[in-house]
Every structure is written in C-alpha cells, then in structure tokens.
C-alpha cells in the first residue's frame, strides 16, 4: 500500500510577542502502512524541508514532546495514525498541521512552553515523614498514580479556554498543574495544606468544568472528574463549610 498524502503545514516564526508570522505550505509525500502523523512530518523533513521544526523524542506517547493541532484537533503526532486521519479528512483536502495555538510560537510546529516550567517551580514539593520507608496501600496509591501518568504534553493547557482564549497564564495554573496539585493534595503521606494557594494563587475558580482538557488528554487522565472537581470540593469545604470555618477560627486543622 503506497499512496500519496498532502500535508498543509504552518511554516513561520513568532514576532516579538510570539504571534505567528508565516504561511501554510503544502507538501506531498508517499505514505507507508501504519504511519503516524509524525512519520509524515519526518518524511517531509527528509525529502523537502530539512529545516522544518518540530519537537519529538520517544515516538510512543511517553514523553509528550510532539503536541500539535492536526486538522484543528490538539493531539500527539506520534500517536495519531494516518489511517484515522485519512478517514476524517474530506477526499482531496490536505491535512492541516499547526503548532499549539495557546503558546507563543518559536518556529513552524515548535512553541515556547517555558510558562509550564515556571509554573512547575511554584508547586510546593511533597512534604511527608523524615524516614526513608514510606508505607501506604495500593488503594491509596491508585488514586494518585492516575495523575502521575501525565506526560506534560500541554495539550490540556492548549485546549483550556481560560488559557487559550483568555490568556490567564498569570492567574491560572491550568489543567496540567491541577493534576499535579491533586496528586500532591491527595498523597496519603503529604502534610502540606495546599488548598489556600490552589484557590488564591492558582485560580481554580476560573475553571468552569467544560471538560475540554479531559477530552484531549493522551494519557487518559480524568482531569476534570478526578483532579479538578475534588479540588473544588476541598476548596468549598475549607472556605465555605461553617463547621470547618469555626474549627479554623479555633486553630484546629481541618
């Protein structure tokens, strides 16, 4: 099976503000059986455009480097099979590949995601017992291991309208970091009270649980149901539960 496919790829750089300056360019290459979108991009580099920029590492959905918008949908290029893409693309139409739109653009498919690394630094590390042997049950681990599966591809951040449309990068931690915070907050041995900063500094209230983030997560994390909503419940308990408020006034930990 060898058929041709045309990709319409964004080529260009960012201006001083990271706004895209460039155009969509068409490339036609041959396709082999079982190819994923990233394979086609690599073939374009090898045959037509050695300087076409894209990030990738593991090519197996484990590192979260090759995030892009393929036919307008945020996905990992390495885990998106051409078979499926051909099926969804109207006959005779090219397949469009663009960089993630929520982040400033560096060049072609590469974006500047340094925001994520700055945000990561604001997460207070796990704070548990001094000794080395930490004991907790698998049932307790299960809950947070789901969050540990995050590959930091930033597709959720790219999709979240609080960030994509409203650019609240300074006030809102975004789905990836609520997953991180949920993992810390629900760690069986963590003693840190993280709820005040989750409400105040990380702006959890901006999220109105439209679940767009969950839909695009390639690691299958139930971001909204299992991370964000439980955190919202904890904020409610901490701030608006009358018994908890009295307890806090008396100096008791809730």
């Amino acid at each position: 099976m060898s058929e041709e496919v045309t990709f319409r790829v964004f080529r260009g750089v960012g201006d001083a503000h990271g706004e895209a300056l460039g155009k969509m360019v068409d490339y036609t290459v041959e396709m082999d059986e079982g190819m994923v979108v990233l394979d086609v991009i690599h073939r374009i580099q090898a045959e037509h455009a050695p300087d076409l920029s894209c990030r990738w590492n593991c090519k197996a959905g484990k590192c979260g480097s090759c995030s892009a918008e393929v036919n307008g949908m945020p996905r990992l290029m390495c885990m998106t099979r051409m078979e499926d893409i051909m099926e969804e693309t109207p006959e005779g139409e090219p397949i469009t590949v663009k960089p993630m739109q929520a982040f400033p653009i560096t060049k072609d498919l590469v974006t500047d995601i340094s925001w994520a690394y700055e945000m990561n630094k604001k997460m207070v590390p796990v704070n548990g017992p001094e000794e080395l042997d930490w004991e907790f049950k698998q049932e307790e681990a299960d809950r947070i291991q789901e969050f540990r599966a995050c590959i930091e591809c930033m597709l959720c951040v790219n999709t979240c309208h609080v960030l994509r449309e409203h650019q609240k990068f300074d006030e809102f931690a975004g789905p990836r970091f609520f997953v991180r915070l949920a993992g810390l907050e629900m760690h069986p041995l963590d003693t840190e009270n993280r709820i005040p900063e989750i409400k105040e500094d990380f702006g959890l209230g901006y999220c109105n649980i439209t679940k767009c983030c969950t839909e695009v997560c390639p690691a299958g994390i139930n971001i909204t149901d299992n991370a964000i909503i439980p955190l919202k419940e904890r904020v409610v308990t901490e701030y608006y539960d009358p018994i908890a408020m009295i307890a806090r006034k008396l100096g008791l930990k809730t």
């Binding site: 082999d32 059986e33 050695p50 920029s53 990030r55 593991c58 590390p125 930490w134 540990r148």
Partner: protein
C-alpha cells in the same frame, strides 16, 4: 569558511559544575551537586523531563527484599556480574547493589509513587537475570516516574537549566577540564560555559542503528565529547539488542516492548507454536531455569498468587543477549512470526491484570498496531537498545581519565560488563548520578577561580558549528544519517563477522566524507537539518568505536556475537576490556586492559561453576 569570532557573539556562563544531559543520571547528579553547595548548570538537548529516561518501562532494580526476603545486595551483585559475563567492574557492581535500595526509597520521599505490596511497601517485579522479584515499578511507566520525580525535586534546588542546548566541545587545560561550548537549538545562539567540573550524563548511542528503541537524542555526543577531550572509552563492542521491540507496522519498528511482559508471565512462541526458549538455556544458567513448560507455568502461578517462588523460572526470563539471539536463530531457521520476529503472548492473563500491570503496552499496541494484547499475541523482534560501553570512570568517584570530567549512567562504562540486566539501568542512573554529582561538587570546591579558555579554541568550535551554513548544494544530512543507520544495522548488528566489520570501518570513512559536505540550508532558528548535520560527527565516531572494538574481540560474549568466532574464549578474552583513545594524530587507537582482581570475599558470592569455566 572560517568565522571571525569578533563577528560572532557568544554568551559566557560560569558554574562550579556543568552537567550535560538531564535524564535520570544528569538530574540526580545536579541534585547532589546542588545539595553540596555548588552552583550548577544543567544543559540538555531536549525540554526538561523529556529525556530518554522517560521511555524506560519495566522498573528500577534494587534489593529491597520487599517481595522476597531471600534477596540481598549480595544476590543482586552476583546476578549483575553473571549477566555481564564477568566483564563488569566488580567495584561498581558492588556499590550499585549496595546503594540502589536507599536511592529508590529516597525517590518516594521526593514524591514518587511506586506500586505497593499488600503491606504497603514498594512492590517489586521479576525481570530477566534477576534471581528474585527486584524491580520497583509503576505499571510499565517507571522511567516517567523517575524523571518526573527528579525533575520536581531538581527545580527547587536552585540550578540553572539550559533546555534545548547541544554541547559541541569540551575544553581542557593540562589534562583538566575547564568548560564546554554549546549552542541553543531554539535560536542558534552560541554559549561558552566555564566550569570547574563537568558531568557527562548524555545517555547512549543506539540511534546509530536503523532498528532501535532510542530517540533522536541517542547520537552518542557524550561518548564523542569525552573521546575528543582525551578520555578513555571502554567496552564499545558491547551493544544490547533488546529482544522485544515492536516489528509491525514498519513505522513503529524498534519501539520497545517492556521485559515486564515476560516478568508478568509473557510467553515467547514461534510460527509452529513452540515455546522455543526452552531450547536456548545456556549451560551457565541451566540450574536456575525451568526445563519443562509445566515447571515454568508453576513458577508463574506461584508468583502471581503472591507466594515465594519455589520452582525454577521460565526461560523467557533469561538475560537479554540470550533471548535476542534465540529470536534471531528461530528466524534463521524459518520459524519466525508473520513479519520476521517471534510471538509474545500475555493474553492468557485476565484483561484487568494486563491493563493494570502493563497499561502502556496495552495502549501502545492498540493505538500503533491496532492489536489488543489482552486477546491477541504481540509480534516482537530485537532492537538496538543500550550500549554497555562508555567513558571509563573511577568506580568510587565516576571521574574519567580527564581530570574534572565525570560520567554517569549509560554514558559511562563498567557496571554492566558485556550485557546489562533489565532494571539495572534506572538504578545505575540514581546510584552513580549521585556519586558523580557529589564528587564533581567536591572538586569544584577546592578550585578558586575559573580557567580562561583561549580565544582560538573558541573560534575553532564556532567555525565548526556554523560550517554547515557555509555549504551549498550538498546532500540533506538526513540521507547521510539514514545510510549510516542502515549500514550499522547490516554490518555491526546483532551478529557480526570480521569481513562485515572491516567493511563497516571503510564505509564509515566514506560516510564521514559525505557528512562533511552536507548542506541543510535554512536559518539558525530551530533548524533540525543543521542539528543533524552537526550530530553526524559524533555518530560516525561512536559507530567507528563500536566497529573497531568488535573487530578486535575475536570471540562471542554478551552483547557481542561474532559468527566467525561463535564461542566465548574465556582463556584469552574472559578478563579483558577494550579501551579506545584518540591518538596524537587524531586517529582512533585501541588497546585491552583488565580490572584489578576481585576481592576474595566478593568472589565467594559468585557462581563457582562459572569461575571454573573462566579458568580461575
């Protein structure tokens, strides 16, 4: 074209310790050096948290003895030496076995969440060559857990991280390291790093083979940088071909299928439905492995039900060198799976168990090959996975033969001998990453000021780095890379001969000529063609090291198999390690040395039968 450095500006950075590479070893070294009070620069080719470590699946080996109280560092030491066919630096094998448990436990206090035993301790799984269940893991995404934990710890240690920077050269003065030169892959800007110590934690070289489990990063820059700086590089003939990579469809060829599948009871069969591994049990392992399917199944039953194993292990859990060669032999005998490999079957376990213990494999096959592994056999075959060879280091400090230059993880050699056991890599990273970081910081503390780096040396590396832009009409670097990888696959692959290795060495000379005139075009901003044009230099030199060392070793052992010398020659080669250096005229030189004789006390831990065979 030469570049006048007065026209090319670069930024100068000063750090006590520069760490090159931010996988498990680099991050662990950076944490250790920061804890010792050193100012640290962490320089890495990818974004933080995306390094090759993230792809590790099965687990990290450490004799915690949480699953089987019979385990201890002594058994781990013995297994590591045996798996390495006794070519390991026994001093490193001892340090590794002794310190790995604390390094794993420490990760949990930094936020790692490994799978638990019923008592609530870190659980451990079985793996090839390990006598007892020994691998701490989280499903089949242990590398992700390790790198994320170290990343989350590291960002709070005050280190400066330079992401998407490629180091081009190390500087030395009178045999001591003084700094390195790098460029920023994002904008093409140039950077000079002055340093009192440098740690190489650059990982491996397996991108030099067409079928490999490695990412674009695995182009061997660390090995090459050390070699160019005058360090000794050891054991380069030993390359591990992991027995189970994906083989179908073609675009996924090489992607790793974790050994954890076999640890969880996965069976290997050929086109005739036979569990062929029973026919490939080497003499040295005959006592430890089941010789009937019945016994193998009983072992699996015991392990799955949480009992201590009393039966012998299934032969699928033999070391990787043995299993890879067995799959190869079955193919040569005309009994391969549909696409030229073997079948690997875990579908006899419940779908729930498969999805819980091997979630990554379930998704990988479902999404990339449209195969449901809970109902269908996988197709697998060997893939270039790991290089046992690397920078020769002092076992207690990880310092190379260049003063102030340290190496840890896959970039270093010694721990694994002729063949690495699965799971020993992740523990290698955190044990020796820590040691390298501490010693690098200790050295830096004794040095008052940074050494000036001569302008002409800087001019030279700038000129070399920008040279591809001065060339026109040459090949796309990608086609030279592709030809190099195909050539290495064919001529320096899993089965080698003297004729093929000689051909490989002359092919590499030709490839070097082609590489020197590639023209990627484009600008300095995030230009993969330019990056690849530069990476070729390291790829060619590490490929040459591998071919040369393989040509010299006229025997078969571990990750090195010669069709023209198919047996192990214990008398001549049993205690001999290859060492490669760059000669004064720039040519590659090779000699052979031995580690000091093993302590009697440690020797007593090894298998007496094996040692007899070694002529002890």
């Amino acid at each position: 074209m030469r570049y006048d450095i007065s026209e090319e500006s670069y930024t100068t950075h000063e750090h006590d310790v520069v760490i090159i590479g931010a996988g498990g070893a680099g991050l662990r070294a950076a944490i250790a050096a920061s804890q010792e009070g050193a100012s640290v620069a962490l320089v890495c080719k990818s974004m933080l948290g995306k390094a090759h470590t993230v792809m590790a699946e099965g687990g990290a080996a450490a004799a915690l003895a949480n699953k089987d109280p019979r385990d201890s560092w002594k058994v781990h030491f013995r297994d590591t030496m045996k798996g390495g066919k006794y070519l390991n630096d026994w001093r490193m094998a001892k340090i590794h076995a002794q310190q790995a448990p604390d390094r794993i436990r420490e990760l949990e206090t930094w936020g790692a969440v490994f799978d638990r035993t019923p008592k609530g301790l870190t659980s451990q799984r079985n793996f090839g060559g390990h006598t007892y269940p020994r691998l701490a893991h989280i499903g089949d995404a242990t590398g992700l857990e390790l790198i994320r934990t170290l990343q989350e710890k590291g960002v709070h240690m005050g280190m400066d991280v330079f992401m998407e920077f490629t180091v081009r050269r190390l500087f030395t003065n009178n045999g001591e390291v003084t700094g390195c030169f790098a460029y920023d892959r994002n904008d093409g800007s140039l950077h000079l790093f002055k340093a009192k110590s440098i740690v190489l934690a650059t990982g491996g070289i397996t991108r030099c083979w067409a079928v490999c489990s490695g990412s674009w990063e695995y182009t061997g820059e660390g090995h090459a940088l050390a070699y160019w700086a005058g360090a000794e590089i050891g054991d380069m003939e030993f390359v591990q071909f992991h027995p189970t990579g994906m083989i179908w469809p073609p675009s996924v060829k090489g992607i790793l299928v974790t050994e954890g599948v076999r640890g969880e009871g996965g069976m290997l069969t050929n086109s005739e439905g036979q569990r062929f591994m029973f026919d490939y049990i080497p003499e040295m392992y005959a006592d430890e492995f089941a010789d009937t399917e019945k016994e193998a199944l009983e072992w699996v039953d015991e392990v799955i039900s949480g009992k201590l194993a009393t039966k012998r292990r299934p032969p699928e859990l033999l070391t990787r060198d043995v299993v890879a060669k067995a799959i190869n032999s079955e193919r040569d005998a005309g009994r391969s799976s549909e696409h030229g490999g073997a079948y690997l079957d875990i579908s006899w376990r419940t779908p729930e168990d498969v999805k819980k213990k091997l979630p990554g494999m379930y998704h990988q096959f479902k999404e990339l090959a449209a195969v449901d592994i809970t109902t269908t056999k996988m197709e697998v075959g060997p893939t270039a996975h790991y290089v046992m060879g690397g920078v020769k280091v002092h076992p207690e400090t990880q310092e190379s033969t260049v003063i102030g230059l340290y190496a840890a993880g896959e970039a270093a050699t010694g721990l694994h001998g002729a063949n690495r056991l699965g799971g020993n890599s992740l523990s290698d990273l955190i044990v020796f990453g820590k040691i390298a970081g501490e010693h690098a910081a200790a050295r830096a503390e004794k040095i008052d000021s940074f050494t000036e780096i001569p302008d002409e040396e800087i001019a030279d590396v700038i000129s070399e780095t920008l040279a591809p832009f001065g060339r026109e009409g040459g090949e796309n670097p990608a086609s030279v890379v592709e030809d190099l990888r195909e050539m290495m696959q064919e001529k320096v692959g899993i089965i080698r001969t003297g004729t093929l290795l000689n051909e490989a060495l002359s092919d590499l000379d030709e490839l070097e000529k082609r590489a020197s005139i590639t023209s990627p075009g484009g600008s300095r901003i995030y230009n993969p063609g330019w990056h690849q044009a530069l990476e070729l230099g390291a790829m060619i030199d590490v490929s040459r090291m591998c071919a040369l060392a393989a040509l010299q070793r006229e025997e078969s052992r571990g990750g090195h198999t010669r069709d023209d010398f198919p047996e192990s020659d214990h008398k001549h080669w049993g205690k001999v390690n290859s060492v490669i250096t760059q000669g004064k005229d720039g040519s590659m030189e090779i000699e052979h040395t031995s580690y000091p004789a093993i302590d009697e006390e440690l020797k007593a831990l090894l298998d007496a039968d094996d040692l007899d065979q070694e002529g002890e």
